[in-house]
Structures are given as structure tokens and as C-alpha cells.
Symmetry: C2
Subunit: 513 residues, 2 copies
């Protein structure tokens, strides 16, 4: 893209990038939205989708596979059970969830200043989750390691625009599958003080997460407070698997929060139509949330929706298309009607690299995410390749978008200073405002300042080496890691965490399942 | 960005790109939105901004510079005049505009199938406007020529997602300034059959536009119908200059449409605050639209708003920041209250190249553009570098986003087929939907298919040469130009157009002002 200009390194480039990265930013523990959500379906339409979800739950039902205890719990709660097939009388799920699931809850962080509220009118932005691969400009695409994992925890900690440390920010494939959850949870606790997510790949790993949390927060505190939130995915269509259900049970029993999330590539795991995806998603989520509330009434639970379209030519998942955006807006409205927090969205893309495709696709999920009023946003930074990879440069670019969303969510300042009527009166026709007292009093905080966007003239940009956005982001993440300082932790706590992990790791052999 | 992979050319790549470019697309002459606009300011807040605009018009007023006739027109219409300063009694502008400006109007295209409606609930997408430079991957950045101009007219004609041919898609700097309007208007008429924009740089050039339109459409038809729409920019703050006012008068007298648009870099041409920008924009636009309605009551007129933020460090305009998005939503609401069509938005960016910055910034204007319900969208495709350049690849990437907006604007299909309840009933838990009769019946039109996004696996993408988005877009615009066929035109009409242009060009010497 820069074939037209000779590359040269300008002396002051690094210094300017450093200065930009340090520009004044306001650090908020989470967003408090002032704007009403955008609605794409009428109340009648939403009611119809709820009826359809109830019809699915009543006529077809859900399968809870390989977990007889879960089936018993649901039967005892009023469901019709036939083997692993669980059918729910109309209204049962809504009644149970409505009776005990909180509309909004607190997830505590190790640093109380980073504690988040999950529910309306708040939005919590968390990084990418679950990618086996990582990518950066220097080393390209490769399997993720525990070092990459720690790097992304550090970057999320250092970013003023991410509110949460996330969970499996990347898969640390250099650690055995059955032990890596211990290193991941430790990294979140040790290298960040933001709230974090727990392991869900086996009920035992959920238990380890809770035990580590008890060491970090105190057992008594954990009994009464959510200090973890964990991602429980359905195996759509209409199936809940034992590992996820088992993990959900552990978290619910311990009063820890879960994101009950149907993961749908429309056309494969659900019909191709938005209304079909929404009814099925709602049915699956209602079943999962009902299970959680039956395990422990009042356990914090979030209705999740992950929906993407498919290339009907190749079968590949596609991102940034308009249909999943419509699903997102619709599901947000359905969660509001149900009275539970909503998880969806992020900066999703199919692009392999942090190019224009990646950014257009990401924005086509992220703008709906913000305008729909999503409460918990996984994958807000770093996602590439349909989630197969997390990119260091993409992470920086996405986090910048998160910062802009924070400003947008505040809405228009209609104070006297915001109206600026005197400034216009004093200036008069034809006189610019650069030196106006109002401008001078407000310019520091007037506009969002991106650390990664280049707003210079073409000539200045040439002078600076014609860098594109990923090249500038590359310098920024390196600088953030170089300047990273771990948040303080009580040495006794740290020792106890490490001792627990060492003991657990020694107690069973390595395995890659 | 592809340093990690060896470049190789796959034999089937060109063929695949060609196939993608030919994927089935629905051609709509304009968008008909089904969704209610997103609102960022309450009715009380909007009312306050209207009061402030009236205060500005009453106390400070506007200057109409160098056009004594315009000042007389406004004085005769009820304004208080003091030299070139024109003050408007409270409510005067709103009353005059409300009495005669149409809520919605038709702009006729040479091909009646391309005729557009401008007003609610419609959205018309038009290409980039006004750039002196062009950029493509092969030749880099350079001054625009009449050949580039014609190329962009052809690309807009060939794109199913652009509804309008636009105006000065780029400046053809190889043609004298005082004659290039003739070649530009001719190119729009000859190489496209979509509606187009007229010249505004001098009243004589507006007259030439009208004369050429009369040849193309017939003098009688032009008398009664809008066949051109033209961009009249204020010289903010609070100034209307003679060239723009003179062009507006010519178009109004001929019942041709105008976009009355304050062009504001907040902090320079207006205060730094969103509410200040909105009140001033409304005041300036009210004054301009009032002038148009006084010249000819009922002449089609559009309230325009172009607002960007500034880098308060360098003074450079910035794009894609959250503050101008808030202005856009607010101005859209103010136009709706006034009862006139609204122009704003586009795919704006500060980036010099079609990279992730360009796409993130563009989306941060374009999503608000669509969700605010903008009626006429200039700069919907091609814009780079704060408008200094139009990019061939950026044009293709942006047009793709326009296609997605068309699908989004339709909203959720709640028909029985859309609900897909039987499909879910028949499928049951754990069975994928790829072979479902509902999927087979719907998959052709189920999801938007991007001709430029790569949704392949990482391995397929490597195999295809690891192309990034601009590289794929490069192949697409070349193919579109190679396959371009001019729409038919009556040979007598074409001859008359060329004869008029030759005569006019011969009648005065070349000049570069």
C-alpha cells in the first residue's frame, strides 16, 4: 500500500508515538450509558419471538447430555423429562428466572476500583477469548503460549479502555490442556487486578477456579460475592453438554456468575433467518439459565448470544455482515424484557490480518454492540480469523475503538458550557474559534484522542515513514509491555496461590484433553 | 503484514475474485428504511438547541458576503439587515421553511429506474466529492484527472450499492478550473444514468449545469422537476459567500435541489462542543434554506451537516471520533423536527491509505449515518485523507459497506418463513441445519455476500496469495472498469451536449480560478 513512497525512518517518530500513547485518558471501571438502546423489532415482534421460544421449549425441548443430575434438577423444577430430552411447559423458564435471577450484579475485582457492574445501564468490555493462534507483525501467526497469554493479560490491564481481564485470551498450547487453567487463572490474578473469567472445560477446573479465587479474595467473601464470571456455551441446536453444564453447576453452587450463551453459526446450528436464530437462541438460553437458577436461586446469570452468518458457498463463518447485527439488536431487546443482563458482540472479523476488512467487520459488530446496550462484551479486543487467532496489533486497534465507545456512550453535554452559546455570541461571523476562551477552556478534553490513528498531513505521514495502522499499533503494544508494572499483591496470597497450583499439578498426570 | 508467509500466486485466484464480484446482488434505486432512527438527545434537549439557533440568528445573525441581491431578498423576507449582516427575528426561518420547503422530493435520473426519493424514510448513497488527489495501489497518490473522474463515474454506475453518480467525485486538475464543470457534468450524463450533482463554484457554472440538464432531460421537464442536486457550503462560522449563494440562487430559480451545508471542523469553525456545533449548524442552515425558499418557495432543499473534530495538538481535522457521531445523530433529529430532508455522513477518514484506520474511522461515521436515518449521503464511497484524496480500492471497500447497509435497513423478517419455527421443529436437538429444507429454500438470499471480504480458512487464504483487503479490491475495480458498458443515450442528445460544451469552452479563455 506504500509502494508509491520511499520508506525512510524519521528521527522523531518513536518519540511522537510514545507521546501519543501517553495522551490524557480518563479511566472508567465500566461504561455507564446515557442513551436509549436502538430497537429493530417492535414489542409485538419481540412478543412473537418469545412465544416461538416457548413453543420450541415445550414441543421440541432441549437435550442435557451426559449429566443425569442436571436432568433430575430440571425435572424437579417442573420440566417434562424423557431420557436426556427436557421439555419445558410454557412460561416455566421465564417464571423461574424472573423469580430469582438478578437484573444487575457486581463482579468484584482484586482492586476494588476495578470492580464492575453487570446489567443496565452499564457496559463492561472484555478482551478476546479462546483463540489457539496468536499473530503479530514481527513473528506472524503461530500457536499461542503462556507467554502470549500473560502478555495479553498485561495489555488488557494496561489499557484504560478494557474493563475486564477476560478468560482464555489465547490458548497457551505449551501447557498441558488439563493443567493450563491453573496457569491462566493465576496470570489473571497475578498480572492484573481487573475482574476475570474462570475455566469451563471440566467441572474440576471450575472448582480449581473457585479455590484460587478463595485464596485471592478470602473464602467468606467469595461465598457471598461474584468474583468470577464464566462462559457456558450451548452446543446448538438445542443441546447442553455435560462439561459446560457441570461447570455451570459448580459456579452456581458457589454463587459465581455465568454467561449462558448459545453459539450459533446461522445456517449450521440454527436456521438462516434472524427471527429463527433469535427464537432458538432465546429457547436455549432460557433452558440454561433455568438450570442455573434451580441449582442456586439468585446466582448471577447473563443471557448470552453469539451469532454469525455462514458463507453458504464454502460453509465458512462470516463476520461483519448485517444479519448478525440484526440478531444482536433483537436479542438485546429480548434480554431486557426478560430482566437479565445481556452478553454479546465484540470486535469480530473473519479477516486473517488487521486490515480494512478486519476493521470494517469489527465495527459492524461493535457499533451494534454499543448501540444495543450490551452489558458484557467478550471479544472487545484482539479477535481475528473468526476467533482462531488473537492479534497483538488488532488488540491495540480494537482497544482504541473501546475508548471511543466510552465517549459516545456519554451522549451530548447540554450544560451551559456544552451549549457554548456565549462563545458563538462573542466570536461573530467569520472569526475562527481556535483562540476563543471557550475553546481554550475545553480543548484538553474536547475530543477523543486516538493513540494509534494518524491525523497528520500526507507530507508529515510520508516523513514519518508512511506507517499503516498495524505498524503504529506494533510500536504501541511493545511500549505497553516494556512499561508494564504488575499491580501489587500480598506476598502470602501469591505464595498460597502458587502452592495450590503446584499441589494440583502434581496430583494428576499431564493430558491433552 | 504478510511477512510470515511466502507469497505465491494461485492459479484460480483471479477466477475466484471474478466469481465473487458477480455474486447475486439486489439492485435498489435507493434504500427504504424500516427502522426508527437512533436518538441521542431528548425532545427537551432538541428544543433547547432550536432555541439556541434562534438566539444566534436573532442576536448575532449571518453575513451574506458580496451578494447585495441576496441581502435584499432576505430583508424583503423579514430579516433585519445591517450592511452584509443579516439578523433573523425568532421563528422567521422556521416559518418560511415550514411554509414551502418540501418534506420529501424526487430527483430524476436519466434512466427513470434510477430516479431517487430524497426524504424520509429513504436513504440515497452518493460517492466521494471534491478530492484533488486520487490513489490506487498501482500508481499511488497523484493529482486527479478527467480520466480518473470518468473512472469513478463508471464505478459508481456499475456499483449496485450506490444510488447516485455524485458531483465532483475527484477534481480533474488536467482541465482548466473554469471549464472543468462542463466535462464533469457531461461525464455524469454520458457515462452514467444515475442522478447527479451540479457545479457550485460560480453562478455561471450553475447555469451551465442547468442548461446541460435541459438538453439531457428537456427544458420543459427541468422546469417542473429536480434533475440536479448541488452542494452549497457555508463558510462557517456564520458566513455565506457570494459564489455559493449565487449558485444556490440559480438552482432555486430553476427549481433544482440544493444541499445547504455548514462545513464545520469543530474547534475552528465552531465551538468544540457537540451542542455548540449543532446550534450553530442549525442557525447557518436555517439562514441558507430561508434564502432558497425566498428565491423560489417550494424549491427542493436539504439541511446538510458536515462536522468533524480537530486534533487540538496539531490542528488537523480528525475523523471517526465519537463527538461528530453525536453531532450527526443530533442534527438528523433537528432536521426531522424541521420537516426537511437531511444530508450528512459518509465513509469519512483521516487515514492516508485504505487500512484498518481508514475502515474503523469510516464505519464510525457510516454506522451513525445509517442509524440516524440520513436521507442523502455524500462521500459514501472512496474518501481518504480527510477528503484530500479518493481511493480506487477504498471506493470498492466502501461500496461493499453500502450494500450491507441496504440489508440492515430492511430490518428483521418476521414472516412465517422468517420465523423458521417449522425448521426448528423438524430438525431437533443436535442436528445441523445445512441440509434442512428451510435452509435450502433460503440460502441464496440468506446472507449478504461481500465481493471483497475473504472468509476462507487461513490455509486457503495463504494458498490464494495472502491478499489483504485493498489488494482484493484492486482486482475488483479493474474488472469493473474492464467490463463497463456505457448506458444508452440518444445520439442527438449527446451531440447537442457536446456542441453546447464546445461552444461554451470556445467563448472564454482558460483560467485556473
Amino acid at each position: 500500500m506504500t509502494a508509491d513512497v520511499p520508506r525512510r525512518r524519521a528521527g522523531g517518530r518513536e518519540a511522537r508515538i510514545a507521546a501519543r500513547a501517553h495522551a490524557h485518558v480518563e479511566r472508567q471501571p465500566f461504561l455507564t450509558r446515557t442513551l436509549q438502546p436502538f430497537e429493530v423489532v417492535s414489542e409485538e415482534g419481540l412478543s412473537l419471538l418469545e412465544e416461538n421460544a416457548d413453543t420450541i421449549l415445550e414441543e421440541v425441548g432441549l437435550e442435557f447430555r451426559g449429566d443425569a443430575e442436571a436432568v433430575r434438577t430440571l425435572r424437579d423444577g417442573g420440566a417434562d423429562v424423557e431420557g436426556e430430552r427436557v421439555r419445558f411447559p410454557r412460561g416455566m423458564c421465564r417464571r423461574i428466572i424472573g423469580a430469582s435471577a438478578p437484573r444487575e450484579f457486581v463482579q468484584h475485582a482484586r482492586n476494588p476500583e476495578r470492580t464492575v457492574r453487570i446489567g443496565d445501564p452499564y457496559t463492561v468490555l472484555a478482551p478476546n477469548y479462546g483463540s489457539p493462534f496468536v499473530r503479530d507483525l514481527d513473528r506472524g501467526r503461530r500457536y499461542g503460549t503462556i507467554e502470549d497469554f500473560r502478555n495479553f493479560v498485561k495489555l488488557a490491564y494496561a489499557s484504560p479502555h478494557l474493563h475486564h481481564s477476560g478468560g482464555t485470551v489465547c490458548e497457551p498450547v505449551d501447557v498441558p490442556v488439563n493443567k493450563r487453567h491453573l496457569d491462566m487463572v493465576y496470570a489473571h490474578i497475578r498480572y492484573s487486578d481487573k475482574p476475570f473469567m474462570g475455566s469451563v472445560t471440566h467441572p474440576d477446573r471450575a472448582r480449581d477456579t473457585v479455590e484460587l479465587a478463595k485464596i485471592a479474595f478470602g473464602a467468606e467473601f467469595v461465598r457471598d460475592n461474584a468474583v468470577t464470571i464464566s462462559l457456558i456455551n450451548a452446543n446448538s441446536p438445542l443441546v447442553w453438554d455435560s462439561s459446560m453444564v457441570g461447570a455451570a453447576r459448580v459456579y452456581a453452587e458457589n454463587n459465581q456468575a455465568t454467561l449462558i450463551t448459545p453459539f450459533i453459526l446461522a445456517g449450521a446450528m440454527a436456521p438462516v433467518t434472524a427471527a429463527g436464530v433469535c427464537a432458538q437462541t432465546l429457547a436455549e438460553a432460557l433452558g440454561g439459565m433455568t438450570f442455573v437458577q434451580l441449582v442456586r436461586p439468585g446466582a448471577p446469570v447473563v443471557l448470552g448470544s453469539f451469532a454469525s452468518s455462514l458463507s453458504m458457498q464454502s460453509g465458512a463463518p462470516t463476520f461483519g455482515t448485517p444479519e448478525p447485527a440484526l440478531v444482536l439488536f433483537t436479542m438485546a431487546a429480548l434480554a431486557r424484557r426478560l430482566g437479565v443482563p445481556f452478553r454479546s458482540g465484540g470486535n469480530l472479523c473473519a479477516s486473517k490480518v488487521a486490515d480494512a476488512q478486519a476493521a470494517y467487520e469489527s465495527a459492524a459488530t461493535f457499533w451494534p454492540t454499543i448501540l444495543a446496550g450490551v452489558n458484557f462484551v467478550l471479544h472487545a479486543a484482539g479477535w481475528l480469523e473468526g476467533g482462531l487467532a488473537i492479534g497483538y496489533e488488532k488488540f491495540i486497534l480494537d482497544a482504541d475503538q473501546c475508548g471511543m465507545a466510552a465517549v459516545f456512550a456519554k451522549g451530548v453535554d447540554l450544560s451551559e458550557n456544552g451549549q457554548a452559546l456565549d462563545a458563538i455570541r462573542q466570536n461573530g461571523p467569520g472569526q475562527h474559534f481556535l483562540g476563543s476562551p471557550h475553546t481554550l477552556a475545553n480543548f484538553e478534553a474536547a475530543f477523543y484522542r486516538s493513540p494509534v490513528a494518524d491525523n497528520n498531513s500526507f507530507e508529515q505521514w510520508l516523513e514519518g515513514g508512511s506507517l499503516d495502522a498495524p505498524q503504529r499499533a506494533n510500536a504501541i503494544w511493545k511500549q505497553m509491555l516494556a512499561e508494564y508494572e504488575a499491580p501489587p499483591i500480598d506476598p502470602g496470597t501469591d505464595e498460597a496461590l502458587q502452592e495450590y497450583i503446584a499441589r494440583r499439578k502434581a496430583s494428576f498426570p499431564d493430558s491433552d484433553v
